[in-house]
Amino acid sequence: MNIYVMLKQTFDTEERIVISNGQISDDGVKYVINPYDEYAVEEALLQRDAHGGTVTVVSVGPERTAEALRTALAMGADEAVLIDGDSIPGDEFSIATALAAYFGQQSVDLILGGNFSVDSGGGQVAVRVAHLLGLPHASSITKLDIAGGKASVQRDAEGDTESLEVALPAIFTAQQGLNEPRYPSLPGIMKAKKKPFQRLGLGDLGLTEANVAAKTNRLSLSLPPERKAGQILKGDPAQQAADLVQLLRTEAKLI
């Protein structure tokens, strides 16, 4: 099977967000593979080990993204492709157009991605790519079994579990609970250095800057209003419980 994983590099979820000069500051920020994409990488490796084939991890991003791709190679992926993000806007239309152009040049059996990215969080790219390629998709999956050219998947739909049968090739996005991503091993890290790593530009994908022009613009950024610590209730637990309900009625007026 030719298995592909769409991967994004994001800030570590421990990071606080600082805005300086109207931009999100990346000063000293630690980057990771988007946590949901990590499940996708792990699932790709499990499916390859069960059914044979290769796993290629693909990302659209700036040069620093190479580090995330190398981590995926160290986890066990076979090949990496970095599509030059400096010439492609961060708009989901643009990213999906570039990825679909890349996949259009490949022979694809299975494409996996994360349910959404923990930074911009639009949750659009994978479904857009599926549509552009004319492939069926299921998003937010928690189980994937492949047999006889078909995938049996379970997906999380707001707490309900849907079981679907999907004909391959297809695109799935990973939800938590799909698997437990492995850590890169030391031999894995050494081997990763020798694995194929391809860099592609817009021209290689047969695209021009006009093809990937952004459909949306960011006008400004803001931080949420800071919350202040409120009051710690006093007295014994029964008193605290009674006081709290009273405060919700009289002060917050929510009950």
């Binding site: 989901e92 923990v118 299921a138 937010s140 999907v166 613009n217 006008l219 610590a229 710690i232 009625r249």
Partner: protein, 324 residues
């Protein structure tokens, strides 16, 4: 040039979803004088619901009613939407940022070659152009976005816009036939409804949430009892999910769901930055924790330092007194 806004409304558990009315409100904020609004309702046996919906739509309601549309299927629902778009050409399509909306909206956007702004929490008019506010980094920051052109797709986060007011006279209902294609490549085989009768986490007005301090799956019982009394939903921190006390679908945080209820009751949750990102936009936060130094108290409006297994049942009793 006048535009046409099309709201794709949603049925869940036999009722119209509140977020669909919020999406109609989004259309009325974003539209300019002379723009038209239409709505689409897809499902099975939805005659009554279509009439309900029409009561909020100053325009046409396209109802597509077929037994095979009872359950959401991306391909089937997309076929339906395409049929509707033959009747009404959309300039702006608005959906709820729900399981359905998150799945269907990007497919519509790709089909239309449209930009999409997802998970919108506020809309403002700026000289005839709509400006959309949405959280990034799960609410650690917000961005304001606009479209560079059309067509446009927008998804609305539940619980953030007020629902559209009713209109009189109601909108005109137009029924559209649906013929199943028979060549769907994805088929829903089964649905396990873990949530039937329960309030959806993202739409809940009150959330009772448990962390590592809940200690076990059984430990969630008192939280569920409190949530039941409050007609709320039960959520969890990542620590509780990772420990196997509850399902990942309950997780609130930067991974997991971002929620904005009126009251958020955090029980035995320390308050890691990833969790705070997912709930700190709640209107009132209540923290119950044994550790007075827990970071959750720094964002809580009301804090109780104590054992949740003692405090939560007492709260249930007190709420029951005033609510029943």
């Amino acid at each position: 040039m006048s535009k046409t806004f099309v709201v794709v409304a949603e049925v869940r558990g036999g009722s119209l979803r509140q977020v669909s009315l919020e999406a109609l409100q989004a259309a009325s904020i974003a539209k300019n004088e002379g723009d038209a609004v239409a709505a689409v309702l897809i499902g099975s046996q939805i005659t009554t619901l279509a009439a309900d919906l029409a009561g909020y739509v100053d325009g046409r309601v396209y109802a597509v009613d077929h037994p095979e549309l009872e359950i959401y299927n991306a391909e089937a629902y997309f076929d339906v939407v395409q049929n509707v778009f033959e009747q009404v050409t959309p300039d702006v399509v608005i959906l709820g940022h729900t399981a359905l909306g998150r799945d269907l909206a990007p497919k519509i956007a790709a089909h239309l070659g449209a930009g999409q702004i997802s998970d919108v929490t506020a809309i403002e008019q700026n000289g005839g152009e709509a400006v959309y506010t949405r959280p990034i980094y799960a609410g650690k920051a917000f961005e304001q976005k606009s479209f560079t052109g059309g067509p446009q797709v927008v998804t609305i986060r539940p619980n953030n816009l007020s629902p559209a007011p009713s209109v009189s006279p109601p909108g005109e209902i137009i029924e559209i036939d649906y013929a199943p294609s028979g060549s769907l490549r994805s088929i829903v085989k089964d649905i396990v409804r873990k949530t039937s009768g329960k309030v959806d986490l993202t739409e809940a007005k009150i959330i009772v949430s448990g962390g590592r301090g809940v200690k076990s799956a059984e430990g969630f019982k008192p939280l569920e009892e409190l949530a039941d009394v409050l007609h709320g939903a039960v959520g969890a921190s990542r620590a509780a999910c990772d420990a196997g006390y509850c399902d990942y679908s309950m997780q609130i945080g930067q991974t997991g769901k971002v929620v904005t209820p009126e009251i958020y009751i955090a029980c035995g949750i320390s308050g890691a930055i990833q969790h705070l990102a997912g709930m700190s936009q709640s209107r009132v936060i209540i923290a119950i924790n044994k550790d007075p130094e827990a970071p959750i108290f720094k964002v809580a409006d009301y804090g109780i330092v104590g054992d949740l297994f003692e405090v939560v049942p007492l709260l249930t009793r007190e709420f029951r007194k005033v609510l029943v």
